[in-house]
């Protein structure tokens, strides 16, 4: 689904990524982990065409996103859903209107059907039906994230990008969101790419974990195998008290 090769990102003299390679397969949930400031979010933003790398190539769904025409770009955006860390809901619109924005923009469906689709998405992410007329400022953090997922799913994307989906949530909401992501993957056959620091999420739902360290992807492996690797940062990450606490055995 996504091939990144020889990627290089530099801001002035600061080199963020160098010689970075990553392949993501269809239907897997992959998490990108790394130190703060290691460029995880930048990598994500480069995949969704918000930032441009300095060199290298990124291919998403067969499209070379660094040399892309406007119509190809739209085609790609139509097939990807993005959920931002803070939700990035449009504050002036209600929940239902937020989810309907991509539908109005990209399809020619009647208002009635769009309302039905939004109602379905709201139910799908586990929100009660009456939330649809609320404004984002009236919602709790967990609900905002769910609405953001619903909006990302509005167009039935093949690819779902999540930036820190469980950050700032209480354990119950975080667990519920994890389960939601897993269920969506199974139901809709999504490919999910997420940046996360949540060790419980890593254990619970990821198929593979990509470690961004020393400016490149150091390893892409299922999490059980990662814990066996001998790398100082990874050791600190998984063998610290929090890392150990999250391990299921």
């Amino acid at each position: 689904m996504i091939h990144i090769s020889q990627l290089e990102t530099r801001f002035g003299t600061l080199v963020l990524h160098e010689n970075l390679n990553l392949n993501i397969k269809k239907g897997e949930i992959i998490a990108i982990i790394g130190d703060s400031g290691s460029g995880k979010s930048t990598l994500l933003r480069e995949m969704i065409m918000l930032d441009k790398p300095s060199a290298g190539s990124i291919t998403v769904l067969g499209q070379d996103v660094l040399n892309i025409t406007k119509s190809q770009c739209l085609w790609l955006r139509r097939r990807t859903g993005v959920m931002f860390q803070q939700g990035a809901l449009f504050n002036a619109l209600t929940v239902a209107e937020n989810i309907a924005v991509p539908l109005y923009e990209h399809t020619q469906l009647s208002k009635r059907l769009i309302r039905k689709i939004t109602a379905f998405k709201i139910a799908l992410v586990g929100l009660p039906a009456h939330t649809q007329d609320k404004y984002p400022s009236q919602l709790s953090g967990g609900m905002i994230k769910r609405v953001a997922v619903a909006r990302a799913l509005a167009l039935d994307p093949e690819l779902l990008f999540l930036d820190e989906p469980t950050a700032g949530l209480d354990p119950i909401s975080a667990l519920a969101l994890d389960e939601l992501i897993l269920r969506l993957k199974e139901l809709l056959g999504l490919t999910v790419i997420m940046v996360t620091h949540d060790l419980d999420s890593l254990w619970a739902i990821t198929d593979r974990v990509a470690v961004l360290a020393d400016k490149h992807i150091f390893a892409v492996k299922p999490i059980q195998e990662l814990t066996q690797l001998n790398h100082s940062w990874l050791r600190d990450y998984f063998q610290g008290p929090r890392g150990r606490a999250a391990q299921p055995y």
Binding site: N91, A92, L103, H106, T107, Q108, L109, S110, R112, L113, R115, K116, I117, A119, F120, K121, A123, L124, A129, H130, Y135, P136, S137, L155, D156, L187, L188
Partner: protein, 367 residues
């Protein structure tokens, strides 16, 4: 690459691609218009559907619903395992749509609006009272005033406004002298330009001009600043630290404007009269020395004092309105924009009303 279906006897056979890319309202309408003579069983045959997404599944379900409403029975048949899963999922989650709330009738709307305005007015008066009370407290114990904030506001709202106000006041003086001078010169009364420019500027024009400038320039900034701080919970943070937002955000702005407005007005007086003097000299043969000689004879000190005296009142109006609107920001960035607009419009509106009241008042006491 389209979503197709055909109706044969009582079988609806779907073919092609049923996704958001291919669906549009025409397909929806055709599906809605499926009709059969008598109540019967209809078979949805999905054997030939190449791909389907949740939007299409929603559509097929609502088609089923509308057919059932007409008394038909629907049987699903031939859908592939994946599509069946999707349909099951939709069936599980589709919830009955609640009807949109009916809009209230006119009487109710009038009532609600009136209530809103009354509450707003009371709210505003309460804010004015609170500002007054807080200012009094501050004046009683001046060491509690946050002088640093006062001075930074004096700089940002006053000093940096000087170039703009000087240019505008000068040009207003120029315009006034041109227009008035032309009429006066018809009667050979060129020297009265001094009276015209002097009285108009000192008494009315420069306090008003300054107030409008400051309302647009600083009032809007005050509202936006306080509003954004409200959105990001900075004001709540101040409260929890034990700093009263009124003390830190409102009072310094109020004091700063009250201090600088008379100064800016005096400055605008000077620039406006300079403009008038220049035009009187260039176009209407009133020499600078004649102008300066005539000035103290024609214009009594009271005009100047009235003009300067109005300035602090205008300053208070602008500061209180803009801070009040800032505290009223709720919810979103949209709200900031809305309240800034209201703040500028209201402060200019109130300044002009206050100015008119002053005119009536001074006329009454014969000043």
């Amino acid at each position: 690459m389209t979503a197709l279906f055909e109706l044969k006897s009582n079988i609806v056979r779907y073919t092609g691609i049923w996704t958001l890319d291919t669906l549009d309202y025409q397909v929806e309408r055709q599906l809605e218009n499926i009709s059969l003579a008598q109540k019967s069983t209809i078979i949805f045959d999905g054997d030939a559907i190449e791909s389907m997404d949740s939007a299409a599944a929603c559509l097929l379900f609502s088609t089923q619903k509308s057919l059932e409403k007409k008394g038909h029975t629907v049987i699903w048949q031939g859908f592939s395992a994946n599509h069946t899963d999707l349909l099951h999922m939709i069936q599980k989650y589709v919830t009955p749509l609640n009807t949109p709330p009916v809009s209230p009738n006119m009487l109710e709307q009038i009532g609600r609006k009136t209530e809103q305005y009354v509450i707003q007015t009371v709210d505003f008066l309460a804010f004015v009272g609170e500002s007054f009370w807080v200012s009094l407290q501050a004046l009683v114990s001046p060491r509690h005033i946050r002088w640093k904030a006062v001075f930074s506001n004096i700089y940002s709202a006053g000093v940096t406004a000087l170039p703009m106000i000087s240019v505008l006041a000068f040009l207003m003086g120029v315009m006034l002298a041109y227009q008035g001078g032309r009429q006066l010169s018809l009667y050979g009364a060129n020297i009265f330009i001094v009276d015209l420019v002097g009285i108009t500027f000192l008494r009315e024009l420069s306090p008003l001009l300054t107030a409008i400038m400051i309302a647009g320039r600083s009032g809007s900034a005050f509202t936006a600043q306080i509003g954004t701080m409200h959105l990001t919970h900075e004001i709540d943070a101040l409260r929890t630290i034990g700093i009263a937002p009124m003390d830190l955000l409102m009072l310094p702005k109020l004091f700063a404007l009250i201090i600088i407005m008379p100064l800016l007005t005096a400055f605008a007086d000077i620039m406006g009269i300079l403009g008038g003097m220049l035009i009187a000299y260039i176009s209407f043969d009133v020499s600078i020395s004649d102008f300066l000689e005539r000035f103290p004879q024609a214009i009594s000190l009271s005009h100047y004092l009235i003009g300067i005296g109005k300035a602090p009142v205008f300053a208070a109006v602008i500061a209180i309105v803009s801070c009040y609107q800032g505290f009223r920001v709720t919810g979103s960035a949209d709200s900031v924009g809305k309240q800034v607009t209201i703040s500028v419009v209201q402060s200019i509106f109130l300044v002009i009303i206050v100015d008119a009241s002053f005119s009536i008042l001074f006329n009454g006491v014969g000043l």
